[in-house]
Amino acid sequence: MLLKTLQLFNFKNHADLRLDFKPGINAITGSNGSGKTNVLDAIFFLSNGKSFFNSIDSQLVRMSADFFSIHGWFEEDVDILVQFDTQRKKTIKRNEKAYKRLIDHIGYLQTVFITPYDIALVNEGSEERRRFVDFTLCQTSPSYLQALSQYKKALDARNALLKAAEGRPLDTILLEAYDDKLAGPGQYIADARAEFSKEFFGLLKAVWNHLSGPNDELNWTYETQWSQPQSYRTFLAEAHAQDCQAGRSTRGIHKDDWVFELNGQSLKRMGSQGQIKSAIIAIKLAQFDYFKSKTGKTPVLLLDDIFEKIDKQRSDALIQWVGSGRMPQIFITDTHYERIRSHTEQLGLELSQHHL
């Protein structure tokens, strides 16, 4: 979906900013601290109802202001308006109609955001990878979003119970009551993640082979503690004593992880800086392809400072993948317009500059 105009009030460093975008490549340029990344984050916000970087909305309000708004006008007369007021709640409106629940907006418009911070996907703990997979699945499956929110509610309650017991053994029946609430969504999420992992790996391999050639083999495996034919409830019940001792739920899909391997070795430990960067770009582009295959719509692509942080060979490969007729609109930030121009001129896409 093409974004035609973006209007920001008091969002991060932007007091009042209006940008008119075009199809093709939109280069957002400016010196360091001019707020280039904040423009991309605003576009991300329009699609996901929250910032990519900071989930505390009050911290996104420009200094000394008490509200922010992000307004985007898209093709086909769609406009999305996000308003946040420090006194009141956040509202999201589509074509002037406010959503009753913000989560109803999730999945309407997909964005893929490639930033230097993505390195956390490989280098940081399992939480980052769960966040990535959950985000991707929630965008395309309302049932997954629902199962995840049910699971989180029940898990929070179960953990509160275990924590309050301070290591003492608990009434088994009470724990079972929570197992009963966790089992349905837990099993659903595990199945959905397994299915997703298979499908996503296929897309990832295709991008990876394009980016690094066939010599290196990238693998990604889903790791979970639970497996069929054991019932999810038995799986949880077995851990009761352990859970009481630890004061938290030690088993379940909230412990899942995904492992990246390069030529059979851990990517995190054995991969070079460049290989890790390539893997991350491949993951994000696979996410793009996944969104597209699931929704039939082209996601918005946001590229933050990629030419600065990624070497020429990889960024060329990236641009080629991006430019091969797949993406009608791309947003790229860079301090130097010339760099964006030289990297993208081979694509023959329309290029417009927006200087902050």
Partner: protein, 201 residues
């Protein structure tokens, strides 16, 4: 806000502590009371005091009552072997107002919620189990909210009551009467399908 009278200030202060009532509404209520005849205000004051002096909690079902046992529990026409478990007095009233129910009640005064530090021992679970103990109860209907807290409490009660051989059931959940399917949320709809009831003509 500053009033010219300390008495008004005190009344507003007391009323604004009520749920859903702020200082502005409290002031409106006070102004209204000022205009009413003395007798009427006295009756109100008396009624309020009686809530604390003349009101009992039913020793069987924990409902509010004028005597040791409430009107429902002491009514011989009600089926004592059928108990409907509710969270609060207001839920009991809602069910009573359907006019469809001939059994008795049990008020839990809360739901199990570890997040709020409420465990089974903090609500009236034990007195319910005591009622079921002697075998005089045939069925316990659980009419609790469809939330994590409600579901957990139901599971807990059902498991405990199983030991006494008491039949347990929970009120049906699904499409509201007069509701249209296309406006129902997926979870409700999925549940309605799962727990569909035979339809015979």
């Amino acid at each position: 806000m500053q009033y010219t009278s300390e008495v008004v200030e005190q009344a507003v202060e007391a009323l604004s502590g009520f749920p859903g009532i702020g200082r502005r509404t409290a002031l409106r209520l006070v102004m209204h009371l000022l205009k009413r005849p003395d007798m009427e205000v006295a009756r109100l004051a008396e009624a309020l005091l009686k809530l604390k002096t003349d009101l009992f909690v039913c020793k069987i079902c924990n409902n509010v009552s004028d005597g040791e046992t409430c009107q429902v529990c002491s009514n011989p026409a009600r089926e004592a072997s059928l108990i409907c478990v509710v969270e609060d007095y207001s839920d009991q009233m809602a069910i009573e107002s359907t006019g469809q129910y001939r059994g008795v009640y049990h008020i839990l005064s809360g739901l199990i919620s570890p997040m709020d530090g409420i465990g089974p021992e903090d609500i009236h679970v034990n007195s319910l189990l005591k009622r079921a103990e002697d075998g005089s109860v045939n069925e316990v209907i659980m009419a609790l909210s469809a939330t994590v807290e409600g579901d957990t409490t139901m599971y807990y009660l059902a498991r405990k009551l199983k030991d006494y051989g008491v039949k347990t059931s929970c009120i049906a959940r699904g499409i509201a009467v007069g509701g249209e399917i296309e406006y129902a949320d997926e979870i409700t709809l999925a549940r309605s399908l799962q727990q569909r009831t035979p339809y015979s003509v």
